[in-house]
């Protein structure tokens, strides 16, 4: 923690423990990891959707319950939801400035992403196993 006169951190920020926790690049790193993963996964997802377009319930379910389609969907949802959670976090941090509104919006983002992600994963597993 720097206390010298040239520090750009304000005394208030220091009191609130704002600043480096030595994990500042974690979100940036995982954004890149999910980005790279999502390039092939997105193309696979589009391919899968195209193979299901216009099919009736039975045919669509037969395709989606396959081992590879299920795995593809699980990976796509996992990487995609984590990616969008990080992306929305940056948007919130950029545009929502009030201390309480920022905390609550970030919390809502977490809830939304986990809820949507879990709902999709549950549905994919149920399509595959039931």
């Amino acid at each position: 923690m720097s206390n010298n006169a040239n520090s750009i951190r304000t005394p208030l920020a220091r009191v609130r423990h704002l600043g480096s926790a030595r994990s500042g690049t974690r979100d940036i790193w995982w954004m890149r990891v999910t980005s790279v993963a999502l390039v092939p996964l997105t193309l696979g997802f589009v391919w899968l959707v195209l193979s299901v377009v216009g099919k009736d319930y039975k045919a669509a379910r037969d395709i989606m319950s396959g081992v590879l389609p299920s795995l593809l969907m699980l990976l796509f949802i996992g990487a995609g939801v984590y990616h969008m959670k990080l992306g929305m976090k940056v948007i919130i941090e950029d545009y929502v400035h009030g201390e309480h509104s920022k905390t609550w919006t970030l919390l809502l983002n977490e809830f939304f992403c986990y809820a949507v992600g879990l709902a999709c994963i549950y549905a994919v597993l149920r399509i595959g196993f039931v």
Binding site: S35, V39, T42, Y57, R61, I91, A123
Partner: protein, 137 residues
């Protein structure tokens, strides 16, 4: 960079000011940056549609018919077209960021080409996928 009041004021007001969005003339690179965010936000909301469709498929033929009925309606098709374009535009924008992170494409003509490629690539892929979708259904 604009100069803030140099001596007086709180520490916050003495920090250097960054120029604000309104003073820029709209440029393609800037529009692509903004569109990357907007398409990202659209995809965020769009996951609700994916979740609905997957849950309907997991549930039964009735629920699936309702979800499919909406998605194949005019409004549903428009939404899905927007979703497809958002997906591809965001994907192209992501590839552009990979190029930048490798340390390339930041100079004047290259970054304009990249912005144009992002826009064109997203549109072309969207139209291609929809042509295929209408052919296979």
């Amino acid at each position: 960079m604009a100069e803030a009041n140099s001596v007086s004021g709180t520490p916050e007001s003495r920090r250097p000011l960054s120029p604000h969005l309104q003073i820029y003339r709209p440029m393609l690179t800037m529009m692509m940056s903004i569109m990357h965010r907007i398409t990202g936000g659209a995809l965020y909301v769009g996951t609700l549609l994916l979740a609905w469709w997957l849950i309907a498929l997991a549930k039964d033929a009735n629920a699936f018919a309702i979800a499919n009925g909406f998605l194949s309606s005019i409004i549903g098709r428009l939404v899905m077209f927007g979703f497809t374009w958002s997906l591809f535009h965001h994907l192209m924008g992501g590839l552009r960021h990979f190029v930048w992170e490798a340390g390339h494409g930041m100079e004047h003509p290259q970054r304009e080409y990249l912005a144009q490629a992002t826009l064109a690539g997203g549109l072309v892929l969207t139209v291609l996928v929809w042509i295929v979708a209408y052919m296979v259904r």
